[in-house]
């Protein structure tokens, strides 16, 4: 159980942590590196070690997946990671507990990646409250488009959490503007028409999408889905993105690592990505 005695964080301090970090990096001519990992893959103890190692190797924000049985937006690599995490008993509550245990050691902003149903089942407000208590900075809900976010958006704000919204290559321009104005922390630009997973090349249209987003709102832009290594991180940096999210490529390295070496593998990869992100 989460200890209820923790004081609520100062909302003014808590919210905007992500965008302030992204803007600071931009000033320094660097781009935010935002690795993704699945909590509980292969177990929560290992996830905790990986989180700390990623922080040590220069990750700016970490996107932490809460495993779900039916992840519609995910490709085979992250689906398999979620299955492994569920098989070893990972629950939303245990993920929050892990973050609570890491307070004092984990300083960089954590964004929780969760589908609608576990959130709804937990109780949206209760989830926001408890996530906020353990220091979570934001939420990404991949099956919650703009219209369905109306309920969660004010709740997240009340508890000082940034609700990050996604735009896709198929999103019409006017809609893209509405989404990026409503998004908090950053706007998550899905770089491919498709599910999560590594791609060998980034579509050229990502460049113009970044440009359009930057011109139409003040929101920071982080690019995700299909970024598989340093080369693509360099690419989106050159295109003007404020952040790059690397998911499947890291998750694959973690799952391929020998037991006990996951954090080392993740650290080596993160270090390569860091150089590319500046």
């Amino acid at each position: 159980m989460i200890d209820n005695k923790d004081p609520l964080p100062q909302n003014s301090v808590s919210q905007d942590r992500i965008s302030r970090r992204l803007r600071q990096l931009k000033k320094e001519g660097r781009m935010a590196l935002m690795p993704f990992l699945m909590a509980g893959d292969p177990d929560l103890e290992t996830s905790a070690a990986i989180l700390l190692r990623l922080q040590e190797e220069g990750a700016d924000v970490i996107e932490l997946g809460i495993p779900y049985s039916d992840p519609l937006a995910d490709g085979p690599v992250i689906q398999a990671a979620a299955s492994r995490a569920l098989a070893c008993g990972t629950t939303p509550r245990l993920v929050l507990q892990m973050l609570k245990d890491l307070r004092g050691e984990l300083f960089i902003p954590i964004v929780l990646f969760t589908y609608s149903n576990p959130l709804l089942n937990f109780g949206m407000e209760r989830f926001c409250e408890e996530a906020s208590k353990v220091g979570v900075a934001g939420l990404v809900v991949p099956d919650l488009p703009l219209e369905e976010a109306e309920l969660l958006s004010p709740l997240a704000a009340d508890y000082g959490l940034d609700l990050v919204l996604l735009v896709a290559p198929t999103t019409p321009k006017q809609r893209m503007i509405r989404i990026s104005r409503k998004s908090r922390g950053f706007t998550y630009l899905v770089s491919v028409t498709g599910v999560t997973g590594e791609r060998t090349v980034l579509e050229d249209r990502v460049q113009s999408l970044i440009k359009e987003l930057k011109e139409s709102s003040t929101s920071c832009v982080a690019v995700g889905f299909g970024i598989s290594g340093p080369e693509q991180v360099r690419q989106v940096r050159a295109w003007g993105a404020d952040g790059a999210i690397v998911g499947s490529a890291l998750v694959k390295r973690i799952s391929n690592a020998e037991y006990g070496c996951e954090a080392d593998e993740a650290g080596v990869f993160c270090c390569e990505l860091r150089k590319a992100a500046g």
Binding site: D70, N117, N121, P145, E147, E148, G194
Partner: protein, 415 residues
């Protein structure tokens, strides 16, 4: 705990404009819980459907094909031996079958597949994908794709491909590609997830023919509207055969498309009782069943908020039913709504009860119903003793049982 069922739903709740509301909701149910990538396609589909229904050339073509290709109107058949089986000394209800099993491809599913294929052509989409459980929707989709020369990819759980080998062969014969799905439980839920992932990836040239009244808005409305012909014909036929509205409508519910098709045109006629029969598998008090409305809690699956079989952490549970078509942990949002406002009743029968009913209907009427359909028949044994003589009962005989004979033979051998 479920909220108590109100006994008198309000007219406003029954109005067509509330089912769904402008934002795609049936009360709290429905909505569009999908990746952003699909949102423009859902809007395009909603607009295309709205325009199509207003376009006489579309409705004329649909009507013509429903008649000449599907074989509509389907008969409303008076099941006299079944009626007398349930008759008491003072009489009993009269049982009628709406013979959707006589449609081309052997089930109601083709009403929707045909309609959506015509829509896809209007939208200029050349590639069609669909999910299937029992294989009936897959066969119907493969059939219309063959008819119109559209590329067709069907997602089917590997487990279901084993149970429904005959339908897999039919789809292949019709030129469709059948992709086995081995993730999760390898059944309809996972096939649907995989079809949605394909759509997210190929949305620009692909139309997804969703096969039930489930999924994100506008699908629950769209699929219902293409099946509404079932209820519209039934209404006419009742008038013709006994000069009034029926008293009770009975249909099986997995996702709920055949039930919605029958119920839809009677919803505002509150004298008509509507009963949906779910699959209780080994029993609703075991953990092997698919009785979503009976046992589920509010959740989100495959793009819609509805009742859902889920564990205490919100992970979707594996459903179980002898019938692949009912083996689904979710249910169409309009059914959750009809239950909540007290307009429809939902009950559940076990695998064993469905098997017994299948044998009974085969022997008494010379009609082998699908295992899905057999669930609706199975409720008669509970229902009939409670009905006054002369009560007119309509069962949606949603599909024929040829595809199930192997499953049935195996089960009967075990008994």
């Amino acid at each position: 705990m479920k909220s108590p069922i109100p006994s008198h739903p309000k007219d406003a709740d029954l109005a067509l404009s509330a089912r769904p509301s402008a934002n795609g909701r049936f009360g709290i149910y429905g909505g569009q819980y999908v990746p952003e990538t699909l949102m423009p396609a859902l809007e395009e589909l909603e607009k295309a459907a709205e325009a199509a229904w207003k376009d006489k050339s579309f409705t004329d073509e649909l009507q013509k094909l429903l008649h000449t290709y599907v074989g509509r109107a389907t008969p409303l058949y008076e099941a006299k031996r079944l009626t007398s089986h349930y008759s008491r000394p003072e009489g009993g209800p009269r049982i009628w079958l709406k013979r959707e099993d006589l449609n081309h491809t052997g089930a109601h599913k083709i009403n929707n597949a045909l309609g959506q294929a015509l829509l896809a052509i209007r939208m200029g989409k050349k590639r069609i994908i669909a999910e299937t459980g029992a294989g009936q929707h897959g066969v119907a989709t493969a059939t219309v794709c063959a008819r119109f020369g559209l590329e067709c990819v069907i997602y089917m759980g590997a487990e279901d491909m084993k149970r429904q080998a005959l339908n897999v062969f039919r789809m292949k014969l019709l030129g469709a590609k059948v992709n086995p799905v081995t993730t999760g439980t390898s059944t309809l839920k996972d096939a649907t997830s995989e079809a949605i992932r394909d759509w997210v990836t190929n949305v620009e040239d692909t139309h997804y023919i969703l096969g039930s009244v489930a999924g994100p808005h506008p699908y629950p409305m769209l699929v219902r509207d293409f099946h509404a012909v079932i209820g519209e014909e039934t209404r006419q036929q009742c008038k013709e055969y006994f000069g009034r509205l029926p008293d009770v409508l009975l249909a099986c519910v997995g996702g709920g498309s055949n039930a919605m098709g029958l119920f839809h045109s009677f919803i505002q006629d509150t004298s008509v009782r509507m009963i949906g029969v779910e699959a209780a598998g080994d029993g609703v008090h075991t953990n092997r069943h698919a009785a979503t409305i009976t046992e589920g809690r509010v959740g989100v699956l495959h793009g819609a908020m509805s009742l859902l079989l889920q564990d205490s952490d919100g992970q979707v549970l594996e459903a179980h039913s002898i019938s692949a078509g009912l083996d689904y942990p979710g249910v169409g949002p309009e059914h959750s709504y009809l239950r909540e406002i007290g307009r429809a009743e939902y009950v559940a029968v076990t695998d064993q009860e469905a098997l017994t009913a299948l044998q009974l209907v085969s022997e008494l009427e010379g009609i082998i119903p699908a295992l899905e359909t057999a669930h609706a028949f199975a409720w008669l044994q509970n229902l009939c003793p409670t009905l006054a003589p002369g009560t007119e009962v309509i069962i949606n005989c949603s599909g024929r049982g040829d595809k199930d004979v192997n499953t049935v033979a195996e089960k009967l051998a075990q008994i």
